[in-house]
């Protein structure tokens, strides 16, 4: 149970006992509390006063399945507000097995320096000169780092986009196959890592010092029940292994909620060609892998390995959000091109969502035609080349919109929305507008309430109940991100008995009673910290809004606009 503090200015690494204020929390609760407490809200996100903090979830490193989730926190260079970007892979489990509660990176190296942080199997950390790796793309980088430090390492790194400190730069981390294909994509935290002069973090996966539990037997019993529920659920036990998150393409398109051609339409005529069903068939026919395990301790296996017609690896994992951003959003129905763009983003170190939407804005502005996949690939390659236009793309859709003086830019707090158009699912308008993260689907995903059970338990075109649904889901998700349970493994807590299992595990690990109230308090603590930071950074209620296009342009085929009033938006955080 320790913090590892890395000062990139002084090049020092010290261990610190976790201060009382941060004991008993993990993941997003820890990163957001720490950033709010320790980072000047008005600081330059790329300056020495910003802090980059990596924290495994509270359950990471425990026997519970699907808990290798890492929260990465900092002040975002994209939104100017607080950011928690969440990623799977192996690193969260690796850090937790070494008894590392958080890795805290402070200060800033000089511009001509490049460093990697190495943490060995005993949890000893050291900064190593990495000038040889300056400018490396992530796939080549991890091969060299694995050769030098062992295959059994988890590597978290940035690509050229992060080194160039571009606002849509991601932090990539390795999956179980050692590929840097898992992304903490949102909010440009790769740029913060680049600004600090830190190219990679190499963590031994051989740790045996996970935090002790007060009642290990009670934890194991509850964890076993939880795993059984995840396996028994039709979505996580059957559909995700078969199709991955791409299973969402067809139903969201059918609902008229798949933003198409920079959100000019809600249905894409090429959706069948890029659906999860088509993707799974192509992968199967070419000899790739469906039912692929991407993250440590995963029992869902929603990942995949997409291969070319000759069976050669292209990318892993092809996900719903990327299929949308590089597909429907730019009018592209070529799944091979989407896979290539996904690989390029991982290799260059770019958020696939922000990058795809940046491409969509260029096309909407008339710079290239919608559907021109070859042009999209060239534009993303320009990011790695470091051209001025490439930097524009790498800084995300708002930067592109400003350059072209084009006002149809679907961003909230400067971060692009995700693959659910808020005009077709009003609750997503509330989440996009009010989340302290900016446009973010995972912060408060209310799609199921609006579509499931044969048309939704809420009327998706009505404002009624949407603020409440988004508020409750945002509180809940803040708690989920703090304990470190994978989004898709939430099927294990979707029932009244399931969520009680989670409370039992927190109590068994901590030795303190934990209840429904405590769960809500955990979520509220996170959101209050994030809102407090953003307020001090200069955000006002006027920032909890959507771009005008969503209020003024009816979205075909249902021809609806967002109808949530400003006053209702401001009720979201009435707590």
């Amino acid at each position: 149970m320790k913090f590892v503090r890395v000062d990139m200015s002084a090049k020092t690494v010290v261990d610190q006992t976790v201060p009382d204020a941060y004991r008993g929390i993990g993941g997003r609760a820890l990163t957001s509390s720490y950033i709010n407490d320790q980072v000047p809200a008005t600081c330059d996100p790329l300056g020495p006063d910003n802090v980059l903090i990596f924290a495994p979830g509270y359950f990471s490193g425990t026997p519970l399945v699907n808990t290798s989730r890492l929260s990465v926190g900092a002040k975002s260079p994209l939104t100017g507000g607080i950011k928690e970007s969440n990623v799977g892979g192996t690193v969260a489990a690796a850090l937790a097995h070494l008894g590392i509660t958080a890795l805290i990176v402070e200060g800033r190296a000089t511009a001509d320096e490049c460093w990697v942080l190495h943490i060995d199997a005993d949890g000893n950390a050291a900064l190593l000169d990495a000038m040889d790796h300056k400018g490396s793309r992530t796939y080549a980088l991890v091969e060299k780092l694995k050769a030098a430090h062992g295959e059994h390492s988890s590597i978290t790194c940035i690509g050229p986009a992060g080194e160039m400190q571009l606002a849509a730069a991601s932090i990539q981390t390795t999956d179980l196959d050692g590929r840097p294909c898992r992304a903490a994509g949102r909010g440009g935290l790769g740029a913060v890592m680049g600004a600090k002069g830190l190219k990679a973090i190499i963590v031994s996966r051989g740790g045996t010092s996970a935090d002790p539990m007060v009642d290990a037997e009670a934890f194991k019993a509850a964890a076993k029940e939880y795993a059984k529920a995840v396996k028994a659920d039709a979505f996580s036990g059957e559909i995700l292994p078969a199709l991955g998150s791409a299973c969402l393409v067809a139903p969201i398109n059918e609902a008229g909620a798949l933003p198409t051609r920079n959100a000019r339409e809600g249905q894409f005529e090429g959706a069948e060609q890029i659906s999860g069903e088509t993707m799974a068939r192509i992968i199967r026919e070419r000899g790739g892998k469906n039912v692929h395990k991407g993250c440590a301790q995963c029992i869902i296996d929603c990942s995949n390995e997409f291969v070319d017609p000759d069976g050669r690896y292209v990318t892993s994992s092809l996900e719903y959000e990327t299929i949308w951003s590089m597909g429907a959003m730019i009018g592209n129905s070529d799944l091979d091109a989407i896979a290539r763009l996904d690989f390029l983003c991982d290799d260059i170190g770019l958020d696939t969502i922000s990058t795809g939407v940046a491409l969509a804005v260029t096309m909407d502005a008339g710079y290239k035609p919608f559907g021109d996949a070859a042009a999209a690939i060239r534009m993303v390659e320009e990011v790695a080349a470091g051209s001025e236009f490439g930097k524009l793309i790498g800084n995300g859709p708002a930067a592109v919109g400003k350059h072209f003086n084009h006002h149809r830019v679907p961003v909230m707090k400067n971060q692009s929305m995700a693959a659910y158009d808020p005009r077709a699912i009003q609750g997503m308008a509330v989440t996009y507008a009010t989340s302290p993260m900016g446009g973010d689907h995972t912060a408060g995903w209310v799609v199921d309430q609006n579509l499931e059970a044969f048309g939704g338990t809420l009327d998706r075109f009505s404002a009624k109940g949407q603020v409440e649904a988004s508020r409750d889901t945002q509180i809940h998700m803040a708690a989920v991100d703090s304990v470190g349970i994978c989004d898709f493994a939430q099927t294990g807590l979707a029932t009244p008995e399931g969520i009680v299992t989670v409370y039992r595990m927190v109590a068994a690990k901590s030795g303190k009673p934990f209840s429904e109230n405590a769960w809500r308090e955990l979520g509220l603590r996170v959101l209050k910290a994030e809102r407090d930071f953003n307020r001090r950074a200069g955000f006002t209620p006027a920032d909890d809004r959507l771009p005008r296009m969503f209020y003024e342009e009816p979205l075909p085929p249902h021809n609806k606009v967002v109808i949530i009033s400003d006053a209702d938006m401001e009720k979201t955080f009435d707590f």
Binding site: D233, A234, F235, S236, E238, I239, A242, L243, S245, C247, L248, A250, P251, I252, E254, A255, G256, Q267, S275, G276, E277, R281, A418, H441, T442, W445, V447, D448, L451, E452, A453, F454, G455, G456, D487, F488, Q490, T491, A494, P557
Partner: protein, 81 residues
């Protein structure tokens, strides 16, 4: 009086129909005034395996009546983000 429907199945729902062709879907005949719920019952798919149904490109409710020659798409439950 009957209605003829073309039914397309998504996710893993095709496992209930050996030989199902995803390109063409399957043709189903139902009594006139049949609803979405009637169709799911007729197909024999467990209702808990169905999350979303669309009729002619519009999300449908259980009680919606199926028009003749409709294209009906049946989707699995969704979750996550």
């Amino acid at each position: 009086m009957t209605v003829q429907l073309t039914v397309k199945l998504y996710g893993t729902l095709d496992r209930w129909f050996p030989g199902y062709d995803p390109n063409t879907g399957c043709v189903v005949h139902m009594a006139a005034q049949s609803t979405v719920a009637d169709l799911i019952d007729h197909l024999g798919v467990p209702p808990r395996s169905v999350g979303i149904v669309s009729v002619n490109g519009r999300a449908a409710k259980k009680a919606d009546v199926l028009p003749d020659r409709a294209l009906v798409k049946v989707f699995h439950p969704i979750f996550g983000g």
